[in-house]
């Protein structure tokens, strides 16, 4: 950018209509399409020097208005300057004087045309989106799809894990309502860590909830759950939720280090 940020010449360079449209530009390509439109030029035959200058004026204006000029605008501006200089070079001609070198603008033209098509398609989708907001269906009753889509793995927060655990505990309380007197048994987390790693190292990822439910008692389930949290903290397992709500453990490639064991003992 050559002009200083506070040049008084700005109002002359920038017609009123530009200011109105400012927030409408969602990115550098939108700005380029807009410039092509107000200059009434075809995208396939862009006057690079002119558009390049106007693009820069726009960037200056953005700074004037204290808008953050996003990196992608600067990048696009640099591409335009490069293109502008390329346009100044004579192009290769064959013996008959016919230009044989590709138009340096070709790549930009293709990008703009592609982007314009996508924009149009997006407009059409937006229209449908607007209409479809009003369409309601019944809640998510889901029959078991035999040709199941691939598992969709999603982020799982600690709260999701905790509420899954609460579900397991609630179920225990329902299924074992009698206050049984249990012999004093202890289930060290360390023991559960070893057990889980053994299962996981044997190969396949496995269903966490199923494993927790098949523990012998509440205390062991809690211990196993704590062990899973420890394993996640030590990055020894990854935990994902499938689209059907199952929580699945995967073994990472990381090995169990001695200091990990120490941190467990502590």
């Amino acid at each position: 950018m050559t002009a200083p940020a506070s040049t008084p010449a700005l109002p002359r360079l920038l017609p009123e209509s530009w200011r109105v449209n400012l927030p409408a530009f969602e990115g550098p390509l939108d700005l380029l399409l807009h410039l092509a439109k107000i200059n009434e030029v075809e995208i396939t035959d862009i006057p690079v020097a002119k558009i390049c200058d106007q693009f820069h004026e726009y960037l200056i204006l953005m700074e004037e208005l204290d808008l953050d000029v996003a990196g992608e605008y600067i990048y696009e501006a640099a591409l335009l300057i490069q293109l502008k200089s390329k346009m100044l070079l004579p192009r290769q001609r064959d013996a008959a004087g016919v230009v044989i070198e590709e138009d340096p603008r070709a790549e930009l033209v293709l990008r703009l045309l592609e982007y314009r098509r996508i924009k149009e398609a997006a407009q059409s989708l937006a229209e449908v989106d607007r209409l479809r907001v009003g369409v309601w269906s019944r809640g998510k009753g889901r029959w078991d799809d035999s040709e199941q889509e691939e598992r969709e793995l999603e982020e799982l927060s600690l709260f999701d894990l905790l509420s899954a655990m609460r579900g397991v505990l609630d179920r225990y309380d329902r299924e074992h309502p009698d206050p049984l007197l249990l012999p004093a048994e202890s289930f060290p987390v360390r023991g559960q860590v070893d057990r889980l790693l053994q299962v996981l190292d044997a190969g396949s990822p496995f269903d966490l909830l199923e494993d927790l439910r098949s523990r012998s008692c509440r205390a062991e389930a809690i211990s196993a759950f704590l062990a899973v949290l420890e394993l996640a903290r030590l990055r020894l397992v990854r935990i994902h939720q499938t689209s059907t709500g199952d929580i699945v453990l995967y073994r990472t490639t990381r090995d169990l280090a001695t200091e990990d064991l120490e941190s467990l003992e502590a």
């Binding site: 969602e26 990115g27 550098p28 390509l29 399409l33 439109k37 996003a70 992608e72 990048y75 696009e76 990008r111 045309l113 592609e114 982007y115 314009r116 098509r117 996508i118 924009k119 149009e120 398609a121 997006a122 407009q123 059409s124 989708l125 937006a126 229209e127 449908v128 989106d129 607007r130 209409l131 479809r132 907001v133 009003g134 369409v135 309601w136 269906s137 019944r138 809640g139 998510k140 009753g141 889901r142 029959w143 889509e149 691939e150 969709e152 793995l153 999603e154 982020e155 689209s243």
Partner: protein
């Protein structure tokens, strides 16, 4: 042999509870093979009965490879009020742009999407993954092994599309800039073919 009325009523019952789009074949397989013709007729009658009409709050729409009963958009305000909810949120323009790129170019990587839009797309992609409109369908076997993104069944349902072929061809958008865009036919008001556009502007 069951009567057409019986089968029509049975289909209505199943569709009412199913919620998820029910594939036509799965519906037809509920009846004796001998009744197949009758079942087809019954299904056609049922769809006729559930086509947009005055006094009807429900329609049967064909989305994501199946049939399901949904509400007519006119009654959105009442549903919102009853459930004290805002209903679904409209998608941002950035989100729709990204969806459009994935829909037409899938499977596609984040860098490819960013390149096409000439801006960063990570945040938008994360949001669309959370809304289950996109899914990670694999990795491109190039340096860095970037994730590949594809659209989901929820995407089809959200936009009322039967399948991806239901999207208008991208080439149609070629010379329409500034003019009338070829619209996707408003889906809930589609009795079967791409013909009607009965959606009210106020929806």
């Amino acid at each position: 042999m069951s009567t057409t009325e019986d089968i029509e009523a049975a289909l209505e019952a199943v569709l009412f509870v199913a919620g998820e789009p029910a594939p036509q074949e799965r519906l037809l397989s509920l009846f004796e093979p001998d009744d197949r013709e009758t079942a087809l007729l019954a299904l056609a009658r049922l769809r006729e009965r559930y086509s947009p009409s005055p006094g009807g709050g429900l329609v049967i729409e064909e989305v994501a490879g199946g049939l399901r009963i949904v509400t007519v958009p006119e009654y959105h305000p009442y549903l919102k009020k009853y459930f004290e909810s805002a209903g679904g949120n409209k998608l941002s323009m950035a989100a729709i742009e990204t969806l459009a790129i994935v829909a037409y170019r899938q499977p596609v990587t984040a860098p490819e999407i960013s390149e096409l839009r000439a801006k960063q797309s990570q945040a938008v992609l994360k949001n669309l993954l959370e809304r289950r409109l996109l899914r990670i369908s694999g990795r491109r076997e190039v340096v860095g092994r970037p994730f590949l993104y594809s659209t989901t069944r929820d995407f089809l349902m959200h936009f009322g599309l039967r399948d991806l072929a239901d999207l208008p061809p991208l080439e149609e958008f070629e010379e329409t800039f500034g003019g009338e865009a070829p619209g996707i036919v408003a889906p809930a008001a589609r009795p079967g073919e791409h013909e009607s556009q009965l959606m009210p502007e106020s929806a």
